[in-house]
Each structure stands twice: as structure tokens, then as C-alpha cells.
């Protein structure tokens, strides 16, 4: 035996590598080699791609939604709150891997949410397995509690909390505040660039839209590591959200409520359904109250309005979605006569003492233009003409001044400009003149009757008819200008803006857009007419006596025809008013859609609002 010497020392014998043992060893080496090659391919060649997939599995970028700023009235009463809503979110990869367990969980989820099981299955199985899918949004509190209790049995499911806007008194503040809603598909792209999430809520109407940038805040984010069930294990990096600014509106909540109540009561008394009223501080331009009726429940929109609700609002003949205060355009009627008066006085066509006749009608080029009275009211000065609202007096003045000059004065009082107030949808109204009328026609037929400005156009312009249009907001600004002696103010809805820590970042200052090009004396003459109108012997004074409000101020009613020209046209009723007379604190406009008699329908509403102001707010606001 040749191995003998080797074995003596206890050294292992040479193993006998038979053919089969060698084959087995070779097989082992081959198997391990094969595994090694495949491993190298996975870990080196595909390594970075698979590592990226692991990263995508486990690292998630979360957006931390910033709280939207709260909107308050000027005294700090909140008008909207952010209230939590819950939605059920499922990470498909977190569902049990076994088909039977998964099916059981789907059945349970379907039962808890009321969503059909097939729909759930379709939604979850087609989704990105590692992205949270919202299975049911807007869970009721009861559902939320019920599901929360069972979450331990529901791997992969979790409850996500968001906040939505809840408007406290939508029927009072709705038109001013507006509402937020999901981003329109047409805006997704542009808003995406501004950092919006596709499912984010954005202000759509009212100051929610107009002050979007202030209210929105800045979203934060967090990069988190999640496990296979979607549970956050570790926060890698985070940036806190910055809440939106708190906005203190210029509105006085109490006055806003009173205005809404007065307008609603006034409309109901005369079986009217639509109207508007704007109350402005003539010293600052701050809007103290702004009401448009009918109102609607803005809360319907915050969770996504149902088709039925939306078409009901859309098809309502009273157009509740229209904010008449800023977007309703109507002829001002006799409330315009202060402009004509100012123009006549300032242009030297009349003086405060000039007496003109007030016949029942005048004849212009064969056309008859009537006064409201079928008898002569005698000769009168401009103040009395305003107090009696003599149409024929102002026909004459308008004719003397001319349409172009009259239009200039109208613009000076803010007619025909869309006010830069903090909400979208503000309309300008319309100040016509001969150039405007010709532009309406285009080139071919400049001298036809439809295109050429006529003397009739001028004189009816003088009493706020013709093609003239205005809005309740413009009317309030106009009367505020008369109240403060000719300073056209920029109306505003914002009193103050504070950041999340309560620091004041913006305070509203009165901003004079321009001054009416008229002497203080001339404006005083016009104001005197407005003062007389609400005092004895004129019967407007009745409403003040009836309400116990001192007739200390200036007012003007207007019953404006609309829908064409002629004698028996439908009318809108207006009342504009400021008080007190010497140092006005409020200037207001009241509009009653389809009102027949402004003295009876619009004026009492204004008196009512003034009464509330005097009784409740005047002393406070004088401090």
C-alpha cells in the first residue's frame, strides 16, 4: 500500500476521488458558479436599477398641506373655519399577500365604506401598489370612528385627515367670501407650476379667490421611509408648512347680518326676489357690508357639489350664483342726477341759484320726453330739482353740458370702471357717449340712427338712462364720493392682514383714486339737494320718521327703466344714501331688482340699515 507512510502520522489519507465523486464535485462547482453568475448580473448589472426600485418602494415624498388662512370680520369674528374631514386611504401593497385574506379585507372595507366591492377591487388592483389610493373621501364622523376601530384588522388601510372650509353663515357672507373647490382641469397646468397639488383646493369665487395668494400659505413636505404596509418608519427630511395669512375683512359682521336681514325683509314685503346692497365707509373706502340676494349655501361646493344641486342653482331664474353687488349691471336712473348736477354747476351752465322750469315734458326734435309728474312743478333751483327728482330739469342741464362732458363727470364719480376690489368678477358698468355708440356699430354705417348719438341719448343720459349701466358697488362708491366731498376712493374688503404668528403684515389705508373735478361749493350744492330729498316737505322723510331715524344725511332714489325704451318698461328700484350729513360715516346703495317704486321699495331698506348702524355701531366706530 503506497499510502502507508502517510497514514502513520495520523495525517488524513488521500481521498479516493472516484469518477462519480469528481462528477458530483464538478456539479457542485457548476451550480455555485451558475448562482454566482446570476447574482453578479442582478447585483452589478441590474444593481442600480433595482436599487432605484427599492428606493421608490421605501422613500415617499409627502406634501404637508398648509392650513388655509382664516377669514375674520373687522372685529376678529371668524367667518370660516377649517374643519377636519377624513378619508380612507389604502396602500395596495399593504394588503395581505394571500388572495383569500385580501378578498376578506376587501369585503370588510366594502362593508365599512359602502363602496361596492368590485369597484374597490378594480380601483386597488389597477393602482400603483405603493402609492396610497383614496378609497373613500369625506367619511362621516361615525364612519371614521368605526373604521378607526377596525384598522388593526385592515393592513394597508389608513385614515388620512384633511381640512376643508366650513362657512359659518353662507347665506349672509357667502357672496363675499365665495368658496374653494377643486382645481379646474383647464387650470391644472398653470397652477401646477405655482406649486399646487392636483387635488388641492383653490379659491374659486369671492375673496377666497381674490385673496388666494394671502390665504393659501406654503405647503411643506417630508421625505419619509415607509415599510411594506405603508407605515411611516422614519422621517428623513422635512420642511414645515407655513399656514396662510389671517385676513380681517373690512366687513362688520353685525352690520352685514343687519343689511342682509333688512334687504331680505324689504324684498319680501314687496314680493321681490332679488336685490343687493353695499355699505361703504366714505372716509376709507372700506366695505362694511355687501349683500346680494338670493344667496346660496357655499358649503355645498367645498366637498364637490352634486350635479343636482348645481343645476338647481344654475337654472334658478333668480340667479343665486350671481353676485349682484359687484357683477349686476343696471341703469342707475335718477340716482345719476347728482352727476348731471355736478357737471352743470362746474361747467358753468347753471349755478346753485339758477332757476329752471320743470314742465311735464319737453320736446326735442319732435320727440317727447316726460317728467315723472304729469303737471308742472314750477321753477326750481338745482337742489330742489334733486329733491323732487325733476326729470325735465336735468334733461335741460344734460343738453347744456353735452354727452361727452357728462360722460367725463360720470367717470370721475367712478361710473364705468371695474373697481379693484379683492374678488374676481367685478364688472364695470357702462358710461356711454357718442364715440362709444359709433364704436358699437363698426365702420360701415356711421351715420345711421342706431349709430349716431342723438340729442335724445344725451338728455336721457342726464337722468341715468340711455345706455348707462352701473353696479351696486359702483353706486356705493359714487355716493361715498359725494359724502366725503369729492374724493373717489378705492373700495376694499380688507381691513388688516396678519401672518400665522399674529403679526400684522398689511393694514389698509384709504386710497384716493382721483378727485372729482368740481369745487367744494358745487359738490356742497349737490349734497344739499340730497339732504332736502329726505327732509320735509318731501315724503321720503316719512320713512325716517316711521323708523325714528333722524333724517341727518343725504339720499337719492331712482327708478330705472330697463329692457329698451318706451313708457311702460319694467324698472329697477335704487336708493343711495349717506349719513350723517356733516361728517358721513356710511355711504350705501340699495338695489331692488324689478322694483317699481324706489321711494317705497328701496328707500325703507336703506333707512333700516342706517337705523341699525346708528343704534349699534355708530358710537363704537367713533371711538
Amino acid at each position: 500500500m503506497s499510502e502507508l507512510p502517510l497514514q502513520l502520522g495520523g495525517v488524513a489519507p488521500q481521498p479516493r476521488w472516484s469518477l462519480r465523486l469528481t462528477a458530483a464535485a464538478t456539479l457542485a462547482v457548476l451550480v455555485i458558479g451558475l448562482l454566482a453568475v446570476k447574482l453578479a448580473q442582478l447585483q452589478v448589472t441590474d444593481g442600480s436599477r433595482l436599487a432605484a426600485m427599492a428606493q421608490a418602494n421605501t422613500i415617499r415624498h409627502l406634501v404637508l398641506e398648509a392650513d388655509r388662512g382664516i377669514i375674520y370680520d373687522r372685529h376678529g369674528a371668524p367667518l370660516v373655519e377649517n374643519s377636519p374631514v377624513w378619508s380612507l386611504v389604502v396602500v395596495p401593497a399593504g394588503l395581505p399577500p394571500a388572495a383569500r385574506d385580501r378578498a376578506e379585507e376587501l369585503v370588510l372595507l366594502a362593508r365599512l365604506t359602502g363602496v361596492a366591492e368590485e369597484k374597490l377591487a378594480a380601483q386597488l388592483l389597477n393602482a400603483d401598489p405603493f402609492a396610497p389610493a383614496t378609497v373613500k373621501a369625506n367619511l362621516s364622523q361615525a364612519d371614521e370612528l368605526a373604521i378607526n376601530e377596525r384598522l388593526p384588522e385592515l393592513p394597508g388601510a389608513s385614515i388620512a385627515q384633511r381640512s376643508i372650509r366650513r362657512y359659518g353663515e353662507p347665506m349672509v357672507f357667502g357672496h363675499v367670501l365665495g368658496y374653494v373647490g377643486p382645481i379646474d382641469s383647464s387650470h391644472v397646468k398653470s397652477l401646477r407650476a405655482a406649486g399646487y397639488q392636483p387635488d388641492e383646493m383653490v379659491g374659486k369665487v369671492g375673496v377666497e379667490a381674490g385673496l388666494e395668494e394671502l390665504l393659501r400659505g406654503t405647503d411643506g413636505w417630508a421625505d419619509v421611509e415607509v415599510d411594506a404596509r405603508g407605515q411611516v418608519k422614519r422621517v428623513l427630511e422635512t420642511q414645515a408648512a407655513v399656514p396662510g395669512h389671517a385676513v380681517y375683512l373690512s366687513l362688520d359682521a353685525a352690520l352685514q347680518r343687519a343689511t342682509a336681514a333688512s334687504l331680505a325683509a324689504g324684498l319680501a314685503r314687496d314680493h321681490k326676489t332679488a336685490g343687493a346692497s353695499v355699505v361703504i365707509d366714505p372716509r376709507t373706502g372700506e366695505v362694511l357690508a355687501m349683500i346680494s340676494l338670493p344667496a346660496y349655501d357655499t358649503n355645498l361646493f367645498t366637498r364637490g357639489i352634486s350635479q343636482a344641486d348645481f343645476s338647481r342653482l344654475l337654472n334658478d331664474p333668480d340667479k343665486p350664483l350671481l353676485n349682484r353687488a359687484i357683477a349686476g349691471q343696471y341703469a342707475p336712473g335718477s340716482t345719476f342726477k347728482m352727476v348731471t348736477a355736478t357737471a352743470g354747476l362746474q361747467e358753468g351752465k347753471i349755478t346753485a341759484e339758477t332757476l329752471l322750469a320743470c314742465p311735464p315734458y319737453i320736446n326735442v326734435n319732435g320727440w317727447i320726453y316726460h317728467n315723472w309728474a304729469s303737471y308742472s312743478l314750477g321753477r326750481m333751483n338745482v337742489a330742489r330739482a334733486l329733491a323732487t327728482s325733476c326729470d325735465t330739469f336735468f334733461y335741460q342741464v344734460a343738453s347744456m353740458v353735452g354727452d361727452v362732458t357728462l360722460a367725463r363727470y360720470a367717470r370721475a364719480y367712478g361710473f364705468g370702471t371695474a373697481k379693484a376690489i379683492e374678488m374676481p368678477g367685478v364688472t364695470a358698468g357702462l358710461v356711454p357717449d357718442r364715440i362709444w355708440k359709433q364704436l358699437q356699430c363698426g365702420v360701415p354705417d356711421l351715420n345711421s340712427d342706431e349709430c349716431r348719438w342723438s340729442e335724445g341719448d344725451t338728455i336721457t343720459f342726464g337722468i341715468g338712462q340711455s345706455y348707462l349701466l352701473t353696479t351696486p358697488l359702483n353706486q356705493a362708491v359714487y355716493v361715498a364720493t359725494l359724502a366725503n366731498g369729492g374724493h373717489l376712493l378705492r373700495p376694499t374688503l380688507v381691513h388688516e392682514v396678519r401672518d400665522a404668528s399674529g403679526r400684522v403684515v398689511q393694514t389698509q389705508k384709504a386710497e384716493v383714486t382721483s378727485d372729482v373735478p368740481a369745487s367744494a361749493g358745487n359738490i356742497q350744492s349737490v349734497r344739499e339737494g340730497m339732504r332736502q330729498e329726505i327732509n320735509p316737505p318731501y315724503h321720503m322723510n316719512f320713512w325716517f320718521r316711521a323708523s325714528g331715524v333722524p333724517a341727518d344725511g343725504g339720499g337719492k332714489t331712482g327708478t330705472a327703466q330697463w329692457g329698451g325704451s318706451g313708457l311702460d318698461l319694467p324698472t329697477h328700484a335704487w336708493f343711495v344714501f349717506f349719513a350723517p350729513y356733516a361728517q358721513p360715516e356710511i355711504a350705501l346703495s340699495v338695489f331692488v331688482e324689478r322694483g317699481e317704486l324706489s321711494e317705497v321699495q328701496a328707500a325703507p331698506i336703506g333707512v333700516d340699515i342706517t337705523k341699525f348702524y346708528r343704534d349699534n355701531l355708530s358710537s363704537i366706530r367713533r371711538q
Partner: protein, 373 residues
């Protein structure tokens, strides 16, 4: 006797078991319990080394009977988990008889095939019959993975035992013929696993999920790995069964290609050492035992790593010494202990320091060996 030990095999087994405990710890399984299993396995390893493997021949029929009893017992009173009945409670410990059956089959087939020097058709059929009985009980648990291991052990031992090419060929042919009818034999979930293996995107959340996640884990380990306890996929639970069937994915993610190659090298060296023990065995029984253990470890390594890297369909097979689990760890260590016993009692010169107890048998073994050659 210490001098005769295959010390390298001890070192390799110890290293693998340590890596196993580390990986099980990282996979957040009950690592302390795994340590207990390893210690218990080590004790059995020492006992098996000291125990003269040749005495196993006499107890082989009893072992076979005991194994069959346990496998039947699993069917009657076993615990069901993960859709299969695999566990028996023995003295409060969950015991997986199908794991033990791998090693018992090695011993039984070794004893049976060692009776003759050549494998005639009768012996061939007898061996197949001996293997078929436990295989049938295991496959109906259902436990396809262990059945595959039993089949591989049988084939390997027949091969190493000197079965004729025509015999081996007929077994292989039968297996190939069976493949088309496989879908009918498989349970629903097993069919599904096969389909999904062929196309993982069929069901990315269900059966395909395991495959995809394991591949992502292995791949994201890259060249050097993410570091022990720092595997994202493993730590965050994206790897399914991360301490047992998919323990290799957990390992490969944390230790990378480098670590995986080290692990494969350890296994490779161990396997060669086991084959070497077969080569030095003093008798045909010892040779067959070592060969059986070799086949047992090799096929488990291939299938476990193979399914972890998407090379083979999923079948629940543990990675020897690495996966969490008492029955598997103890079985593997016991098998290696038996191999060690074969090594210690290796072929040597007749006159040279006969072991005090077993001298006579050792002599007999050598003679048998000579006769075969």
C-alpha cells in the same frame, strides 16, 4: 479522535451558522431561539461525530418506521400554517417531520444500498420504493420543496452508489415525462407560483410580489451591500418570509455580491469537504451517507438561492444553516455530524491504532471497501 476530525468542516459549519444567526437577527426573527437551535444542533453534531455511524445501519429500519409514523401523524394531528400541515408539537416545540425526513432518508437509503456492492434492478426498485413512501406523505402536506429535496437525495445517492447509467436515465426520463402533467398534479397555489415565475408581472401584489421584491432586494445590495441591519427592503418588510424562505435575499441585500460570493464559497468548500469525506470513508455505507448529505445540502442551496434570485420557481425550502428554523438547522448539523463521524472513522491501515471500541468493525469496513474496488 480530535486529530482525525475534519477541522475545516467544523469551521465552515460554524461560520455558516454564525452568518445565519446574524441574518436572522437582521430579519427581526427570534434570533435568540435560533441561537438555541444552533447550540442544540451543535450538541447533536458532537454526539453524531462521537457516535459510530456504522451503528446507524442497525437502527435504520427503526428510524424509517419512526419517520413514517411522524409523517402520518402530521396528516392526522399536525398544525396547519400557511396553508400546509407541516408541524407536530413535540414536548412543546413545533417539529417539522418533513425536515427530519430528509436526513432519515439519507441514512435509510445508505443502509439499504450498502447491503450490496452493486445496484441491481431489484435494489434500484427497492430504493425508489423506500423513497417514494415518505415523498408521497410529504407532497400531500403539501410540501413540494421537501419532496424535491427527497427526490434529489435519492437520485444523488443512487448516482454516488454506483447505479447504472440506464437506471439513472430511466429515472430522469420518468421525471421529464411527468413534467407536462405537472400542472394537474400541482395544487392551485403551486400552479400559480409556476405561472408567476414564468411571468412575475401577472400578479405583482400576490404571488409575483415575493419574487419581485426578493429580486429588488438582492439587486439593490449591489457590489458591497447596504451593510448589516441596513437593508431597506429587508428592514422595512418588503421581503416576504425574510427569515426563512427568502433569507438569502435579506443576506444578499445587506452583504452585497461580495458577501454572497463569500457565502457561496463557504457552501462550496463545505460541499467539497463532505464529498471528500465520502472519498475517505472506510465503507460503502459511510460513503453513501456523506454523498446523501452532500446532495441534501446542494439541492437546498440551489433551490433556495435560485428562487431568491429569480432563477427557479418558488418552493418553500430553507437555506441550510442560514434560514430560521429549528428542524432544518438541527437536521443539517446532525447530517454534518454524521459526515464527521464518517471522516473520523475513515479508511486506514489495518494495524494502525485501532479505535478501542470499534476496531473490529473498522477492519470489516476496510475489507468491504477493498472488495468493492
Amino acid at each position: 479522535m480530535i486529530r482525525r476530525l475534519d477541522r475545516l468542516q467544523v469551521v465552515l459549519a460554524a461560520m455558516l451558522a454564525s452568518l445565519g444567526v446574524m441574518t436572522v437577527f437582521s430579519a427581526r426573527a427570534d434570533w435568540q431561539r435560533q441561537v438555541v437551535w444552533v447550540i442544540a444542533g451543535a450538541a447533536i453534531y458532537v454526539a453524531a461525530t462521537t457516535f459510530d455511524y456504522r451503528r446507524l445501519r442497525t437502527v435504520a429500519p427503526a428510524l424509517y418506521g419512526g419517520m413514517m409514523l411522524m409523517l402520518v401523524g402530521v396528516h392526522l394531528v399536525g398544525h396547519t400554517a400557511l396553508g400546509a400541515r407541516r408541524w407536530l408539537a413535540v414536548a412543546g416545540f413545533p417539529l417539522e417531520p418533513s425536515e427530519l425526513s430528509k436526513l432519515v432518508l439519507v441514512v435509510v437509503l445508505g443502509a439499504y444500498l450498502a447491503r450490496t456492492d452493486r445496484i441491481g434492478w431489484r435494489a434500484f426498485a427497492g430504493a425508489l420504493g423506500l423513497a417514494a413512501a415518505p415523498a408521497c406523505l410529504v407532497v400531500t402536506q403539501p410540501d413540494l420543496g421537501t419532496t424535491l429535496v427527497l427526490a434529489a437525495v435519492t437520485f444523488g445517492m443512487l448516482f454516488l452508489g454506483g447505479a447504472r447509467p440506464v437506471q439513472l436515465g430511466s429515472v430522469l426520463t420518468a421525471a421529464v415525462v411527468m413534467v407536462p402533467s405537472l400542472p394537474n398534479l400541482l395544487r392551485g397555489y403551486q400552479q400559480r407560483r409556476l405561472e408567476v415565475f414564468l411571468n412575475p408581472s401577472l400578479d405583482p401584489l400576490g404571488a409575483g410580489y415575493n419574487l419581485i421584491q426578493a429580486r429588488i432586494a438582492v439587486g439593490s445590495g449591489g457590489m458591497f451591500g447596504r451593510g448589516w441591519l441596513h437593508g431597506m427592503q429587508g428592514q422595512l418588510g418588503f421581503i416576504p418570509e425574510r427569515a426563512t424562505d427568502f433569507v438569502f435575499a435579506t443576506f444578499a441585500e445587506e452583504f452585497g455580491l461580495l458577501g454572497s460570493l463569500v457565502l457561496l464559497t463557504l457552501f462550496g468548500t463545505l460541499l467539497i469537504r463532505v464529498l471528500r469525506s465520502a472519498g475517505v470513508a472506510s465503507d460503502r455505507f459511510g460513503e453513501l451517507l456523506a454523498g446523501g448529505v452532500f446532495a441534501m445540502i446542494l439541492v437546498q442551496l440551489l433551490e433556495n438561492v435560485g428562487m431568491n434570485i429569480g432563477l427557479l420557481p418558488i418552493a418553500g425550502i430553507p437555506l441550510p444553516l442560514i434560514s430560521y428554523g429549528g428542524s432544518a438547522t438541527i437536521t443539517t448539523l446532525a447530517g454534518l455530524g454524521i459526515v464527521q463521524s464518517v471522516t473520523v472513522r475513515r479508511r486506514r491501515v489495518v494495524h494502525e491504532e485501532p479505535l478501542p471500541i470499534n476496531g473490529q468493525e473498522s477492519l470489516l469496513g476496510t475489507i468491504t471497501r477493498r472488495a468493492q474496488a
